[in-house]
Assembly symmetry: D2
Homo-oligomer: 345 residues x 4
């Protein structure tokens, strides 16, 4: 079988370089073209010197992308900008995986409320599929446009879906307390990701109104079939990669630990990237991989369920999930090219 041809739009950020890192060794796919507007004409390894000798191809402008015969394009662009290109490419022959937040929500109204920005391509919202194979495998197979999940949402959605699918949680807000590595803030230097502001430090941010809140709520509502309030608080860890989410939810009635374990086991019986762990996992346990490690437990004393969920935000929370979606779209084994072993330590 000849290799599938892919393009990566936006190569200078972390998501772009991570796609290159994964696809370089993918047995069934080639990176046909990589674009960058700010570094057009340079080599990818000029932008990311660690790729010298591995991926030295020349960066082209996105305007030249239609000259190439591509099967699929990854958009690794900021939200707000991404929808422009999705719209522009709507009649292109290639399929699209969009890694921004532009097509993840249910309507342009919801988007505008949480992103404070007009949505210029509502039709895209309608035809897009939320790229979470653990929930929507079948829809992904035939999709032309995938909205790849946000990093915080995927960590909490995978942590909560089995529990909420049972429809036993009471009506109080579910607490989603997330802690993320710095790469979540992007590669552009600013105060928030300045070394001395992050090192030996820790802070909460985006209290009450972080955009990922609504993404979690909407997807989980589809799982549970009812409305759930999520109280989401992200925090910034002094680490490069990784998200650990601690979730607190209360069943309306008492449950058993065994029931909880069984619920998760059954729900993820066909999910090759979800590992149900014996103890609470750490973020380095999944670093460099597409795994989501979960640990759920019930506290008899308080009647609460606690779930710990960890992912590598650049992989399961971005580029790896995109490749998993791509594999499904191409009819490949879901795990193809995603057999990385965690880099630990």
């Amino acid at each position: 079988m000849s290799k599938k041809k892919t393009g990566i739009i936006g190569a200078t950020g972390y998501t772009g370089s991570e796609l290159v890192r994964i696809l370089t060794n993918h047995p069934d796919v080639e990176i046909t073209v990589i674009t960058s507007e700010s570094r057009t004409g340079e080599l990818l390894s000029d932008v990311h010197p660690f790729l010298q000798g591995i991926a030295d191809q020349k960066l082209i402008s996105i305007n030249r992308i239609c000259n190439y015969d591509l099967d699929l394009v990854f958009l690794a662009l900021p939200h707000g900008i991404s929808m422009d290109f999705v719209k522009r490419f709507k009649d292109s022959p290639f399929r699209i995986i969009d890694l921004s937040g532009d097509f993840r929500l249910s309507s342009s109204e919801v988007y505008e409320e949480w992103y404070n920005m007009e949505h210029i391509y509502p039709e895209g919202i309608e035809k897009s599929v939320f790229g979470c194979p653990e929930l929507f495998y079948n829809e992904i197979k035939g999709a032309g446009l995938i909205a790849n999940p946000g990093c915080f949402p995927i960590s909490s959605i995978l942590g909560l879906a089995p529990l909420l699918s049972k429809n036993i949680v009471d009506s109080a807000p579910v607490i989603v307390d997330s802690k993320t590595g710095v790469t979540g803030a992007g590669i552009t230097a600013k105060a928030v990701n300045l070394y001395s502001n992050v090192n030996d430090n820790f802070r909460a941010y985006g209290l009450k109104r972080h955009r990922h809140t609504i993404e979690m709520q909407e997807i989980l509502d589809r799982v549970s079939g009812k409305k759930t309030l999520i109280q989401f608080t992200p925090h910034l860890l002094p680490v490069d990669r990784g998200i650990l989410t601690t979730i607190y939810a209360r069943p309306a009635n008492r449950i058993k630990e065994d029931f909880l374990k069984e619920t998760y086991k059954e729900f993820y019986s066909n999910a090759p990237f979800v590992r149900l762990r014996k103890q609470a996992p750490a973020i380095k346990d999944v670093r460099g991989t597409n795994f989501c490690d979960l640990f759920a437990t019930y506290d008899e004393r308080t009647g609460m369920v606690i779930v710990i969920s960890v992912i590598d935000n650049l992989i399961k929370g971005a580029a790896g999930m995109a490749v998993q979606n791509m594999n499904i779209m191409f009819g490949l084994e879901e795990t193809r090219g995603l057999d990385q072993v965690p880099l630990n330590p």
Copy 2:
């Protein structure tokens, strides 16, 4: 006025060296004696080389401590061991500040339930005062035995006390999601504080049954006058010092942001070490100081109160709080010797 004479029992750990760091520059106090059993006869600066030229005094055995004329003794020993010495010193002329967990709970029964260990000196529990000046200033003045608060408890007690004092929170468990620096695990090398297990990593631990849970509950029950369930989850940060606690509680009825702000302002109007912050604080904002920085806010969308609390676990969570208690016991200004400016960055 001649300087007060103090002794530090247990100089090899972080709490001991931190007491030295603070008391060395205290204008009204001298460190008369420092003990260590494992390093008896050596200089303190052999154990902690960074103290060379600053605190070179010789370490003696605790058995020789009664040869000295002391006003007050700090016990910086592990729980379980500390109560032995408190009992042994019960008729000594010096007052005691115990930094372990041995005298913080309400009874030997509760202690035995949460510490899985018999308590050998229940009389000490009865006469001890919980050393939180923000709540029990008057009791501390005349105390002979202070139970210095635990690091996690003080961060959550100070964060919750104003809210719970209003008695408006509903009956669901209050969520206390804490993140601590590694020094909380002590100075003895073990897997949990090995560099490569902590660096670029993050994990939860002690789910459901951490001992500090009951300390929080008991003290907060005294504040609110009723029983509150605390769901406490500690996590390990890749930083040396600092605790950030994120607290979620739900008032039974809707409240106003202004009311919340005013409640905290009033409650801490006489607390020189509590800083009410305009934004969510970061742990480096208090590093090296006795401050507890707080930020409380109300989420109209969900009806939840969120409180962020940060301290330096070795100072407000241990040695600094002990010095603050000592100042009060000696009739000194509460802030004496505690004017350190945060080391940031």
Copy 3:
């Protein structure tokens, strides 16, 4: 005695906030005025929130500084800009400590060669004194303009001065291999101090032509009375503060370890901030203090002298050294207000 009045020009950087951190608790000095052009009218604690409640004074424009009656002004400005103000203030009644590199070299020609920039105030060079009390105590006392040393230079000058004063080193270049924390690169966010470029990483930079090379050479030539070539290579550590410099020099003839130890001891017999250590020191041993810790040893096998020197780059390498110079200029005890104990861990 009434307190001396000082001004800090440039409060938004690390050096500015570090001066505030030290002077806030200085018993004989007050901070009368702090300037910032980019944040004029705001509070200092708006710029540095960790100073809330400690230093909330309003920032003024430098243009208003002559309205104040000041004894001394600290210039915490970038090189190139600093000389403008030194020139402008040349007839002002206050004395100046300039923390930039503008007045450290021997002539405007040398400056222009290494800084690639014209020097607009060569008279300043002539009358300035290099602010290293360990070498030039007497000149500092009466100086009107102090050129406060660079961070790398002071770490290597203090490490080499005793050895070079003996005039026994051969003619090969002396190797100065330095490793610095990130704060040396300043507070402005850029790729070089972006968290993910620094964390878990390490690199050399400025090979062969770093500006601090000539500063070291010129000062050390004054010590030895002859020309020494310095091969200086800085490296960037994943830490906030601290410089460790490893120095390699070869005596023309064999020497004895005892002679080396004695040479250092004698040279620094009156230097309260130089600690001669029994073992190789670590940067955290001096964090938050004005100490320079040194360890010098001779390798019988190779005939080389190795010197390890550590400082806190923001203190002994900037703000602390400036305060030490100020103390001497004011006729105060050299150590006044500089009794901080290392923050370790």
Copy 4:
């Protein structure tokens, strides 16, 4: 072709788990058996939970290893212990790659001088081959016993070999100033790798007498054909992985930058894992890979050559180099199974 069968002796350390990480995805090799004495009978993923679902095989005792039909065995044991097993296995049918320091030096006398320990198997020294394919490719092919290089030595040997092969360096000691990540100190918790002793810290250690000095000297003497003195100083970085070595050597006569670049290019024309970089490399550029990145430059001002060399100490400095040697021994492509892309950030 059926897969080659390998055994890993000593699975609990970093080198053992790193071998598993690489060999798990090696197309031509299987891990037939893994041993551990301290954890016999447990699963590898009990020891290293991040390997859950990837490598869950049961750990056996080394005493049972001869029950297996193996082509090659990796010894990932401490020096001193390793030679016992090499001796015991001397008539075994499998070939051996020893990752300890026991067989790297030229004779038992030299070993005893630098390791302060008797060597119990001098015959092993004679028949072993130093496993550096960049220098000894042909000897490795047929070797029965490989002495896999030390981490510091390989970083400096690869950095210096091209220069020393030209025989133009003067007689002064060559300075090798190395900085290593903490995993170099092993997985056993002790003061030196305690988080708070390493984080935000930096120190030199092993001055003058580190064992790796003699390994560098002996191998480089074989390259240059004459005696070279190495002055080696290791330092401990607050990072998990990586070594950066800064090398200073002085040609007896002036050279040209072009000549230097050409010398390196030619020397490594057939070395797939040596990347000659355009700028000074950083350790994260090679993290998780078998690359050694080099940058060599000449300073006209001082007449010195400066070389920067970076490796991942667990890969090119241990497990990756071992697999590269194994590939050559098995007649496979040298790069087989070693196509990892750097994990950056």
